[in-house]
């Protein structure tokens, strides 16, 4: 393939990933009778959400990453909610929604006041009852998503409670003492979609999960997840809570410490640290390690000021232009010489701190360079090719003078390879600005690791870089960070060494495994399947002969999932919904024994284990007999009989390990019918 094709393929792939992250649902299909439809021509409504009264035909589709669930139509134009639990999987962990600036920061001592100040400036977006207390949730007028909720608040018993612990993190929690002897924990997970939320007693400064607390209620409000739950004890009894959450595509951990409680108010947050954008389900409860066991006086991380919003982000191709556009709207706040080149630093007029600098920029040789790589992280870095050499510069948004270390690294890790010369660092407007020249050309760095320690807190930021262009910042192609670590507790090998793995052979981006397996239509005569497919494997399981068919013209997992299984002359589909790397179907075909079969789409022979489980978790309960596995057309097909009837399994957990990669897939099942697939009612995966 020539380089142009490579570029097109890479761009299409990235666009596809982005589309998969952004588009998880389809609006209702509103078909009209032909006569009405004909009338519509010429004045087509341009946005479905603007359509007026419900029409007679309405179907609503909600695809939450893995599970495709068709739910009952829109009544009164309300949004639909999927019945099954949230799903994770196919979409890679995306960046958090960059719309939470979380101002004003909630102040515990001012919380619990009359609700009118809040409700007059906000809109009610949800309500419910928790622990016997009615509550309403309010989103600030003119704002949406997590930002609106965090700038709004919660009303309980006529009193208002803020919902913004400090720096805008993807998963926030407040603890309030609102009476009744039970602490009230509530918060927002800012990633799109329905999150699963777990709460634990913990120890400040760790990510330990101690006693598990009752799971809070979670609902999607304005596209993000709001949760609320009553705790077994008084709010005063919790010194630290661990909030673990999994949204479609990403998991987060947030450990919080709490100070002295006051009746009717929020409990002040005294410590906060988080790990964001983990792979779904990859919680690291013992992270950062044994050295942080409780009772050793671990220094707590400061909660930084929420002053970096960094919008719009730096566009590499537009950077490096004349300085006048920048300097006319900004104020010079620092200057110096690095690598023989004089520079000045500019803060946007009307702004301060990291926000001002990131909305401002750097001027070198009369050219302006942006300083906002994307989502507002506490420690940012840009790499630019200026005057033929690499210049690296950035901001650490925590208060005070930071120490900054730079390393060559590997994209997607936190590895610290060869240490690079430490940049100059100075405090500018309360935060740290750093700048340094690197030994090689900017084009020579594929990835950099930025480690920084500010007073009370450390951060790690790993960045990947694309193709460099002379006189411009190098485009950032990857970014992941660990924020609010205890000082000096860098974890270079976190999350672990990641072996390179073969790409999963999953169906095309627009394939929902067609035809999508429908339980009620399964178990029909095999001829419809076999006439359009090719037999690729056969065997006997629990005394029943089976054959496996791959759709003609297709190969690998796609062919098998678009084909199916034939048992006893009957055809069974093999496509639980959205094309995931590890799929499973459960069928009631064999007199008292469920038949589980599926495909692991990664190359090579997989080890497959099945467990009884609980829907919506990744619990591995009782281990079930391991199915037979064979490589078919490069991927793994498995099939096995279960000890009990298919009707007896409400949830199964599929764990599969292919060469270099492990997957988990938890499925929930509905009512079974003899001779048919058992309908899948819930699905979530960690790939």
């Amino acid at each position: 393939m020539n380089p142009v094709e490579d570029r097109v393929r890479a761009a299409m792939s990235a666009a596809g990933d982005q589309a998969a992250r952004e588009i998880r649902t389809a609006p209702p299909l509103r078909l009209q009778s032909p006569s009405v439809a004909g009338d519509r021509r010429g004045h087509s409504p341009r946005r479905w959400m603007r359509w007026g009264a419900p029409l007679t035909a309405a179907a609503a589709v909600a695809v939450v990453a893995v599970s495709l669930v068709v739910v009952r139509g829109v009544q009164n134009d309300s949004t639909v909610s999927a019945k099954p639990a949230a799903s994770t999987g196919a979409a890679a962990a995306g960046a958090p929604v960059p719309d939470s600036s979380c101002a004003p920061t909630t102040v515990a001592s001012a919380s619990g006041g009359p609700a009118s100040a809040l409700t007059s400036a906000a809109t009610e977006v949800a309500s419910g009852t928790t622990g016997g207390q009615a509550w309403t949730l309010w989103s600030k007028k003119g704002e949406t998503g997590a930002r609106g909720i965090e700038d709004g608040g919660l009303v309980v018993g006529g009193r208002a409670y803020g919902l913004c612990p400090g720096y805008p993190n993807p998963a926030e929690l407040e603890l309030a003492d609102v009476g009744g002897g039970h602490g009230l924990a509530f918060g927002v997970v800012g990633y799109p979609g329905l999150a699963k939320v777990w709460l634990y007693k913990s120890t400040v400064g760790t990510f330990e999960t101690g006693e598990r607390l009752p799971s809070p209620q979670v609902q999607v409000v304005d596209g993000v997840s709001f949760f609320i739950g009553a705790l077994p004890q008084s709010a005063c009894d919790y010194r630290s809570l661990e909030l673990n959450s999994t949204s479609p595509g990403a998991s987060d951990e947030h450990n919080l410490g709490f100070g002295a409680c006051t009746s009717g108010r929020l409990v002040p947050i005294t410590a906060s640290q988080g790990i964001w954008q983990l792979q779904p389900g990859h919680f690291v409860s013992n992270f950062p390690g044994g050295s942080l066991s409780s009772g050793r006086g671990v220094p707590t991380a400061n909660v930084p000021g929420a002053d970096s919003s960094c919008s719009p982000p730096t566009k590499a191709s537009a950077s490096g232009g004349p300085a006048s556009a920048l300097t006319s709207a900004a104020t010079e706040v620092a200057s110096g010489t690095t690598g023989g080149q004089a520079w000045t630093l500019w803060s946007k007029k009307g702004e301060t701190g990291a926000r001002g600098i990131e909305d401002g920029g750097l001027v070198v040789d009369s050219r302006a360079y942006g300083l906002c790589p994307g989502y507002p992280n506490p420690a940012e870095l840009e790499l630019a090719d200026i005057g033929g050499r690499a210049l690296v510069y950035g901001v650490v948004g925590y208060p005070g003078l930071a120490k900054v270390w730079l390393y060559k690294s590997t994209v997607g890790t936190f590895e610290t390879g060869e240490q690079l010369p430490s940049p100059q660092v100075q405090v500018v407007d309360g935060v740290s600005f750093f700048i340094g020249a690197l030994p090689q050309s900017a084009c020579d760095y594929q990835s950099l690791e930025l480690n920084s320690t500010s007073p009370g807190v450390s951060d790690e930021h790993n960045l990947g870089f694309g193709a460099c262009t002379s006189g411009r910042p190098v485009p950032i192609t990857a970014s992941q960070g660990i924020w609010q670590l205890p000082p000096g507790h860098f974890v270079s090998n976190f999350p672990d060494s990641r072996p390179s793995v073969g790409a999963a052979s999953i169906p095309a981006a627009d394939s929902s495994c067609s035809p999508t397996t429908v339980a009620s239509a399964s178990g029909g005569p095999a001829s419809a399947l076999t006439s359009a497919a090719t037999e690729v494997a056969s065997g006997t399981t629990s005394g029943q002969a089976w054959t496996l068919w791959s759709k003609k013209g297709e190969t690998g997992a796609r062919g098998i999932e678009d084909g199916g299984l034939v048992v006893g002359g009957r055809a069974y589909g093999l496509c639980p919904g959205f094309p995931n790397p590890a799929e499973l179907e459960l069928a009631d075909v064999a007199g008292g024994h469920g038949l589980a079969f599926g495909v692991v789409g990664y190359p090579g022979a997989a080890k497959v284990r099945l467990y009884q489980s609980t829907t919506g978790t990744f619990d591995t309960g009782q281990a079930l007999p391991s199915p037979q596995v064979q490589v078919v057309d490069g991927v793994s097909f498995f099939i096995g009989a279960l000890p009990q009837s298919a009707c007896d399994y409400r949830s199964l957990e599929l764990n599969a390990t292919s060469p270099g990669v492990t997957d988990q897939h938890n499925l929930g099942f509905g009512a079974c019918t003899a001779g048919r697939l058992v309908p899948i009612t819930a699905s979530q995966g960690a790939w």
Partner: protein
């Protein structure tokens, strides 16, 4: 998978059921396809909606229901083509509006952040290709369709697909060379 799709009491239950089921299975994928071509989710949703209304209207004339997905894909491509042309006409008519409201490679700030500069530039260049070249590239490299499948969706011969792809790559190569 168990479905609970509401069906209305129309006079064409077969078309109702088939189109609704097809929408349930493929709407998201097709909106993503439109989004990749247009860079605008709202416009992509409109195009897909129109495609399914067209499919519903013409269901009785569809010779082979198994080709419904191919028909829907073709309709989405046609709709995207129309949307791009409308956009280009509007931009030519009102340069000020075009400058003020430049069509972004992707329409959300998050997308802009997550898509690298390099990828955005490539996608912008792809969007400027001739219709047939752009569509062939998208079907082959985004959807991963074979040449034959691409030909069926586009309603042209496999040979024409190959030549469209070849010309598209050549045009992009010149574009990238000029920009570097």
């Amino acid at each position: 998978m168990d479905t609970d799709t509401p069906l209305r009491s129309g006079s064409r239950p077969e078309a109702d059921e088939a189109v609704t089921a097809l929408y349930a299975a493929h709407a998201v994928g097709l909106i993503r396809l439109g989004f990749v071509i247009l860079g605008d989710r709202g416009a992509a949703e409109d195009v897909v909606q129109d495609a399914f209304i067209g499919l519903y209207r013409n269901w009785d004339r569809l010779s082979d229901p198994d080709n419904a997905l191919t028909y829907a894909r073709s309709s989405v491509l046609n709709g995207c083509r129309g949307a791009l042309r409308s956009r280009a006409r509007r931009d030519r008519r009102d340069r000020a509006a075009a400058a003020r409201d430049a069509w972004p490679p992707f329409d959300s700030a998050e997308a802009a952040v997550l898509l690298s500069e390099e990828h955005q530039e490539v996608l912008t260049a792809v969007r400027k290709l001739a219709d047939r070249q752009r569509e062939a590239l998208t079907l082959r490299y985004y959807l991963g369709l074979s040449t034959e499948e691409t030909a069926r969706v586009m309603g042209i011969s496999p040979g024409t697909v190959k030549s469209a792809l070849s010309r598209a790559i050549a045009t992009l190569g010149r574009t990238f060379k000029d920009e570097s």
